[in-house]
Amino acid sequence: MRDIQSARLATLVALAEKKPLLGRTAVMKLCYFLQTLRNVPLGYRFTLYSYGPFDSSVLSDLSTAETLGGIESKTVFYSGGYGYEISPAGRSRSVRNLASGFVKKYRSDIDWALERFAKFGSADLELLSTIIYVDREFATTNERLTADALAEKVREVKPHFAEEYIRGKVDYLRQEKMLRSVRTASGRK
């Protein structure tokens, strides 16, 4: 098994061990946050959909981790929809040990991501990760925006969210110093 593959599987198991019953959307977005905000080299290729940054390889890796006995996934239903709960399984330690050095090296980043983001529901995680994605697109081209302008850009992608709600999440991420393209009223980042 290639190094990057082992690192991904071990990371997924480490997330499930630290925070059992994580949703599948949460795992997807946590991988995005780890890679984008903490530079954890998972090698995923996230691109933007209306439901936020997504890479089908994350789902593929979750399935492989399940086959290897590292995690188990359960379908859960709620009014109007469904989701998946992911928990560690019998061979989680063995799968984590495929890349124990990697997990050890990035343990603090995994804890950091869970602490900041595991508390949110899937709709919020989709919104927060979309804000980060849009922010990074502007930051890549050295464009600077106000918080309002960034919220407006995000709303163009997710028009079903109220403007104030998006703005609240932009403010949260700005306070946490996770945004790069947003400048303050005085023009500083």
Binding site: Q35, L59, S122, V134
Partner: protein, 429 residues
């Protein structure tokens, strides 16, 4: 670019062995006529698969036309059945829906325009993006070609007076950028669980190869496609009506069968190795040029014809020679499709025993044609909850696992010795 067009509203029909006639308008025809699109006539859909299945000579050109056709059918079905959800949740008007239909058609037409020679075979040789272990993908090349070579053909046609598209709008939808705005909802039709790309290639590949594994009732699937209304303050999602779940199940099974019987066939995979190694020898620095500036123009000079010409002239080294002589690597060992922890340990033992006889190891996880495990949402008018995953309808799908099979290869000359060593490791157990 100057156009002398007698009738910009004229429509054209192109014969397709899968869909019958594919209709295009004058604008799309002008784009198809561009050299960067015509290049797709010189890129085979399935690389060297014809060495196993002689009929596999079809190209990315006809597939791209097929994707436009299927994407339009999907789009129309969804709009017809889900107009209310699209208007309420994404604020669409009739004009907005007409506009995005054209955008989806252009993105479908151009999604593969950035393919390297022999499609996915040598994509490992795309250059690195930089940090994070990520490489460029063919979608990055498609977006770059759209923004440069195809910009004028997209922006300057008289029909674009009605939509005002920029080339960036088309590129943004393909690459998944916020610039695509609410049209990102439609991105699942270009790149998703039941996208037009997948529907077309499964049926088209089956048709040309002469197998039935990839066939399914795609018309039923398309007519069942809907935008599933909001779940917990989330945007509408692409899914299917309950009546189409057997067709969706058949799509997933078609992917599985095509993967095991065609895309991950041991000999096809061997030829992919030889193509990749040949390209490594032929490309300056062993890497494709980057998708920008002069490098992009250099990239576009590479197509199957050029590579085959070079192979014919004796270039490309040992692996090109192997392709010419059909002297491919031989599979010596394969793990189960759903490989467990124990299977991985067995694999490591076999690899150690083979030692230097082992020349290649290929994993299904690395293949572009993955079997896929994510569920398709199914919407029911009578059940509660109304939205359930396909795996709750289908026991077959529920039991499916991601294919993480690994294949080991040796040179044909050392096959007997390799077989002896493999048997030895089995005896010890």
């Amino acid at each position: 670019m100057g156009y002398l067009i007698a009738d910009p509203h004229r429509r054209y029909e192109i014969r397709c062995p899968v869909h019958g006639f594919i209709q295009i308008d004058d604008w799309e025809r002008q784009i198809i006529d561009q050299p960067s699109f015509q290049r797709l006539r010189r890129i085979r859909q399935l690389a060297c698969t014809d060495l196993l299945y002689p009929g596999a000579m079809h190209t990315r050109f006809e597939h791209s036309l097929g994707v436009v056709h299927v994407a339009s059918l999907l789009y129309d079905s969804i709009v017809q059945k889900s107009r209310e959800a699209l208007e309420r949740q994404l604020a669409y008007t009739k004009e907005g829906l007409d506009r995005d239909r054209q955008l989806v058609r252009l993105a479908a037409l151009l999604h593969d325009v950035g393919h390297a020679p022999f499609s996915h075979s040598a994509e490992d040789l795309f250059p690195d993006r930089g940090r994070g272990g990520k490489k460029f993908g063919h979608e990055d090349y498609s977006a770059a070609i759209i923004r440069t070579e195809l910009r004028s053909a997209i922006e300057d046609h008289p029909l674009n007076e009605n939509t005002g598209f920029k080339a960036d709008d088309v590129a943004a939808l393909i690459e998944g950028s916020a610039a695509a705005k609410r049209a990102l909802f439609w991105r699942d039709l270009i790149s998703g669980q039941m996208d037009a790309d997948r529907i077309d290639y499964l049926i088209r590949d089956s048709h040309h190869i002469g197998v039935h594994y990839g066939r399914f009732d795609h018309r039923r699937l398309i007519s069942s496609a809907i935008a599933i209304p909001d779940e917990k303050n989330q945007p509408p999602r692409l899914g299917i009506e309950e009546g189409g779940w057997h067709a969706a199940e058949a799509l997933v099974l078609a992917r599985y069968f095509m993967f095991t019987q065609v895309y991950f066939h041991k000999t096809r995979v061997a030829y992919d190795i030889h193509l990749r190694e040949t390209m490594k020898t032929l490309l300056p620095g062993g890497r494709f040029p980057k998708p920008s500036g002069a490098d992009l123009r250099e990239f576009m000079k590479w197509d199957d014809w050029r590579v085959l010409g070079l192979i014919g002239k004796g270039k490309g080294g040992e692996h090109a020679e192997r392709i010419l002589k059909r002297d491919h690597y031989r599979e010596i060992y394969y793990t189960p499709e759903a490989c467990t922890d124990k299977d991985l340990r067995d694999l490591r033992a076999k690899k150690a025993k083979l030692g230097r006889l082992l020349v290649a190891e290929e994993s299904a996880k690395k293949s572009w044609y993955k079997t896929g495990t994510s569920d398709i949402p199914v919407f029911s008018k009578v059940r509660s909850p109304q939205v359930q995953p396909l795996s709750k309808y289908s026991k077959v799908i529920e039991g499916m696992r991601e294919n993480n099979q690994v294949l080991l290869y040796v040179d044909g000359a050392s096959r007997e010795e390799a077989e002896r060593r493999i048997k030895e490791t089995s005896k010890r157990r």
